[in-house]
């Protein structure tokens, strides 16, 4: 089952930033494939939403790009800037906060996720 795009609307930036954080540099198509894999094909990024968001994040200085020419094709890789990295933490923490709040609002007995902002990561 695919998640509705209505639900995904506000989370696109968070998804992109986190995936980039976990995978280093990636290009547009690769990003869509990665998100597809991670979500068991429940989240399919549309190009119409992906590229404007990437360019916007780049314009805001969160992402940096590098261009690699492969034959006739030009591939543009995105990666996080220092600023972008701190934004990821912020966004993910914010999102967990949001889900917990939603859990309370919707009266879901168990919190969906633990309070640790970055599960699986050692806190320094």
């Amino acid at each position: 089952m695919m998640h509705s795009s209505e639900l995904l609307k506000g989370t696109l930036q968070t998804i992109l930033l986190k995936v980039l954080k976990d995978n280093g540099r990636m290009y547009g198509y690769e990003l869509t494939q990665r998100v597809k894999d991670l979500s068991d094909a429940r989240i399919l990024l549309t190009e119409g939403a992906l590229y404007p968001t990437l360019h916007k994040l780049e314009a805001e200085g969160m992402l940096k790009t590098e261009v690699v020419t492969i034959g006739k094709r030009v591939r543009k890789y995105y990666s996080l800037t220092a600023e972008g990295k701190s934004l990821v933490k912020e966004r993910v923490a914010e999102f967990i906060e949001f889900i917990n709040t939603m859990g309370n609002v919707l009266q879901i007995p168990q919190p969906a996720i633990s309070g640790t902002p970055f599960p699986g990561e050692k806190k320094g």
Binding site: Y29, E47, H55, A59, K72
Partner: protein, 902 residues
């Protein structure tokens, strides 16, 4: 994922197809291609055929609509941030300027030269309006002007009676201090043995430093000039006569006989002052200054008002002053039945007014100015010309931008389709023009820096670019923005207004066809340039006319030896010794010479037997004291009667008058033999009515010009001097003036050891009478040259643009058999027409200008049709040559090449 699945052909297909679907934006194009390629490859690994895979991928994008939507969103999301947008404007602007480097060059060259001229003129104007502002109380300093109409004379001058200053200071509480100046020419100055001639010497009152606040380096300013035989000197003089020494308290000897003690040393006056006195002599030591008289006018009078005092109010009290002080004295001197009423009724006048210090440099040219000022009208003219030159350069920019709109229209269309707002485009175009202007300004600074020494030489100023002032950089930035907007606003409106539908369909009127405004601007450029050229030619013609006009005397081959008084009793022997050399034709000793700046003496005279109390009988006339050889030396001619001669002892009371005087006197019978009279001198130098002097007319001299040709020849009389004095003029035969100078100098050194040898040639001095006109002519010549060069730069670019646009047409015409010349004709015709219209407009404009300038001259050259035609032909020729260079290049192109492309 391997990339090998897609062949080069596949990729080309995708690129072309996407292009076809309207994906142009550089920011997204490559990325989308890569994305689609990757997607397609992925599908193909699952066994799909390329074309099916591609269409599948396109479908997931939402086909053409989806693709365009994505592109649009990307552009908009990028544009969201203004800093980024600015960077984008900047990058694209740079790219555009680089891409069209030819047009960029034309624009930058024109703008930077135009701006450099503007820059220099602004510096000049700032300098001119800064005159005298450096004095602390500048706004409270005034000087008196005298208007005196009496006994046939009418004076508008700065000279006032010696008593005026002290009267003002004592009678009016609002006058804080009043001082006088008395000019007595140059002085020979020495410390021990050798004399140096100093020009900037003046006598003045002790309150000088109170009125004109200036830094005094040594000595007490308040008491400096209080004693007779004291002087204050500038730092320049102190360094000159007492290098590395303290000059204060030391003595300088003036004219070999006046021992002057130095009581103060002041900072040398800055160039932007209306006087540059280096030596101030205390008036306490001058008898003439102490005479309490109102009928002699020799002193320039300056006052310092107390704070808050009203100058106009004070001025109204001056007429009362004349009634209570001056009139009783006049009645006493003139005697008889003199009354104020009669004085006024006879059309006489004695009026004093005030002139603020700020008006002196730009708004005053009265008799008695210390230095020539600058006419404010020329300031306006300069500013106008600078503005016009800048306009011409800006118009180049506008015209090239709009002309090239053809090439940029598609860009505009696509940008708009992609979601650019009109404001984005306007900003883009403005960024380009501001960037260009900025580059031009930097270049302009460099050009101005290189040109300034040359301009300084022409304008006799010492201007420099104030690189150390932050104001300069503020102004540069402001100017870059201002001029950038001025030049960019029209193209940005024009270009951004294109409707994408029309542009992309290709049916917007482009290039030369849309050029009504452009044509108007070209006409404007050339109207201004041609007017300037005509004006320059006219000024030069008038100058030539003056220099070559028959003057009534022979200015060539005359050398004048100055400061002859330094010879003492050796004056006559010196003259005779030199005559004995046989190299000289004649010699005369007098200061009254037929060039301005030499001695003058104006008195009322009347024909014997007529009543001097009646105004009409009086003739105001130049009364020159000369010697027997004067007329021969100067090469004047006697029209009637005879020259003075040693054979007639009675010539001591004889007079030679000029034709103008003959006319003014209205002699009853034969002029020769008639007698003319004037007041004698009383014991105190006042005019004595009871003992008139009488002279008999023995000759009438042909009119000769003794002032600038701006003026009519006025009545003049010459009588023999009782005691010849002043410079000695020699008329020489030799063409070798060096030999003559050497001859005289050797004799001088022998007879006047230690005295400076100063001389000038009469024709050179004559030339300096028109120095300001000559300079003006040169400056305008340069301006008009620059204007026309910039205008032609624009024309050059426009022609090359037209040629580019009509490349195919030219190719086809050539294939069909058109000759090169007919194509050149075709290309130049349109712009040539504009130059012709400009000429027609420029003629009346220039005519008014020339008429206005010439109105000051009594003797003016005829500005015939020829001059206008020459100027027009010259402008047309230059414009045509410019155009045909480009059109010839276009016309001689091989049609195969121009037709093959596209």
């Amino acid at each position: 994922m391997s990339m090998k699945l897609l062949t080069s052909e596949h990729i080309d297909y995708i690129i072309k197809d996407l292009n076809y679907r309207g994906i142009f934006a550089e920011t997204i194009q490559d990325e989308l291609i890569d994305h689609i390629c990757s997607s397609v490859e992925n599908e193909m690994t699952h066994g799909k055929k390329f074309i099916d895979a591609y269409h599948g991928v396109l479908k997931s994008f939402g086909h053409t609509g989806g693709l365009r939507e994505t592109q649009k969103k990307v552009i908009q999301s990028e544009n969201a941030k203004s800093r980024n947008m600015l960077k984008n404007y900047f990058t694209i602007a740079l790219r555009n300027l680089r891409k069209h480097s030819f047009y960029t060059f034309i624009n930058v060259a024109g703008l930077s030269v135009g701006l450099a001229i503007c820059f220099i003129i602004i510096l000049f104007v700032i300098n001119e309006i800064s005159y005298d502002k450096h004095f602390e109380n500048a706004d409270r300093i005034y000087r008196t002007k005298s208007e005196i109409k009496f006994g046939g004379n009418h004076y508008n001058m700065l000279y006032a009676p010696p008593i005026l200053a002290s009267t003002l200071a004592t009678e009016f509480p609002e006058v804080e201090a009043a001082i006088r100046f008395r000019e007595r020419g140059s002085y020979l100055v020495k410390r021990n043995i050798d004399n140096i001639k100093e020009d900037n010497v003046i006598w003045t009152d002790k309150d000088f430093f109170k009125v004109f606040s200036m830094p005094v380096i040594a000595g007490n300013a308040e008491t400096a000039l209080a004693e007779p035989n004291t002087i204050a000197i500038s730092e320049k003089i102190a360094d000159k006569y007492f290098p590395n020494e303290n000059a204060l308290g030391q003595t300088l000897i003036l004219d070999n006989n006046m021992n002057m003690k130095i009581t103060a040393i002041y900072k040398t006056l800055p160039p932007n002052t209306h006087f540059h006195f280096d030596i101030l002599i205390s008036l306490e030591g001058l008898e003439e200054a102490k005479r309490p008289v109102w009928y002699s006018n020799n002193f320039q009078t300056y006052i310092l008002l107390s704070p808050g005092a009203d100058a106009t109010r004070l001025e109204t009290k001056f007429s009362e002053l004349v009634v209570t002080h001056a009139m009783p004295q006049l009645a006493e001197v003139l005697g008889g039945d003199f009354t104020m009423e009669k004085f006024i009724a006879a059309g006489n006048k004695m009026e004093y007014t005030l002139q603020p210090l700020a008006d002196i440099h730009l708004k005053s040219s009265l008799q008695g100015e210390f230095e020539p000022g600058f006419d404010i009208v020329y300031i306006y003219l300069f500013v106008a010309v600078a503005f016009f030159i800048l306009m011409i350069a800006c118009i180049n920019f506008m015209n090239l931008s709009t002309a090239r709109s053809a090439n940029r229209a598609k860009e505009v269309g696509i940008r708009k389709v992609m979601g650019s707002f009109r404001s984005h485009l306007m900003r883009q175009f403005l960024t380009e023009s501001i960037l260009l202007t900025f580059a031009s300004i930097i270049l302009a600074l460099g050009i101005a820096y290189l040109l300034l020494p040359f301009f300084n030489q022409l304008s006799l100023r010492t201007l420099s670019i104030p690189f150390n002032q932050p104001m300069l950089y503020a102004i540069i930035t402001a100017a870059a923005l201002g001029v950038g907007v001025l030049a960019g606003i029209y193209p940005s409106f024009f270009l951004s207004a294109f409707k994408p539908v029309n542009v992309l369909k290709g049916n917007v009127s482009l290039g030369m066809k849309s050029g009504f405004i452009r044509s108007a601007l070209v006409v404007f450029q050339f109207t201004i340039s041609i007017s300037l050229v005509i004006g320059t030619l006219a000024v030069n013609r008038q100058l030539n006319y003056i220099q070559s006009k028959k003057l009534g005397f022979n200015k060539d081959q005359v050398i004048v030896i100055e400061d002859v008084y330094a010879l003492g009793t050796n004056r006559i022997p010196f003259k005779e010794e030199i005559m004995r050399s046989g190299k000289m034709e004649n010699a005369t000793m007098t200061g009254f010479l037929p060039v301005s700046g030499t001695w003058r003496n104006d008195n009322p005279w009347w024909v014997e037997g007529r009543d001097p109390a009646i105004q009409e009988n009086m003739v105001s006339i130049q009364n020159w004291r000369i010697d027997y050889d004067y007329i021969k030396t100067m090469g004047m001619s006697i029209k009637e009667g005879r020259d003075f001669s040693r054979d007639f002892p009675s010539d001591s009371s004889a007079v030679i008058i000029n034709e103008a005087a003959l006319k003014s006197f209205h002699f009853d019978g034969e002029a020769i033999g008639s007698k003319i009279q004037s007041f004698g001198d009383g014991p105190n130098g006042e005019p004595d009515k009871d003992h008139p002097i009488s002279l008999t007319v023995v000759g009438i001299a042909e009119n000769f010009h003794f002032e600038s040709l701006k003026q009519n020849v006025s009545p003049l009389m010459m009588e023999l001097s009782k005691r010849p004095e002043g410079p000695i003029s020699f008329r020489f035969q030799s063409q070798n003036s060096k030999e003559i100078i050497q001859l005289i100098e050797t004799k001088w050194k022998e007879m006047a050891p230690g005295q400076p040898f100063n001389y000038y040639f009469l024709d050179e001095r004559f030339g300096t009478m028109y120095a300001s006109e000559t300079r003006l002519g040169k400056i305008f010549g340069i301006f008009s040259m620059i204007a026309i060069v910039i205008a032609c730069l624009g024309l050059f670019a426009l022609t090359s643009f037209t040629a580019e646009q009509r490349m195919k047409e030219i190719g086809i015409r050539k294939v069909l058999g058109a000759s090169i010349s007919s194509i050149v004709m075709l290309l130049s015709k349109e712009l040539g027409k504009l130059v012709l219209i400009a000429f027609v407009l420029a003629v009346p404009l220039a005519w008014f200008g020339i008429d206005w300038w010439l109105k000051d001259y009594t003797y003016k050259t005829q500005i015939g049709v020829g001059l206008y035609l020459i100027a027009g032909a010259a402008a047309f020729l230059i414009a045509w040559a410019t155009m045909s260079f480009q059109s010839f290049k276009a016309a001689s192109n091989d049609p195969v090449k121009s037709l093959r492309s596209e």
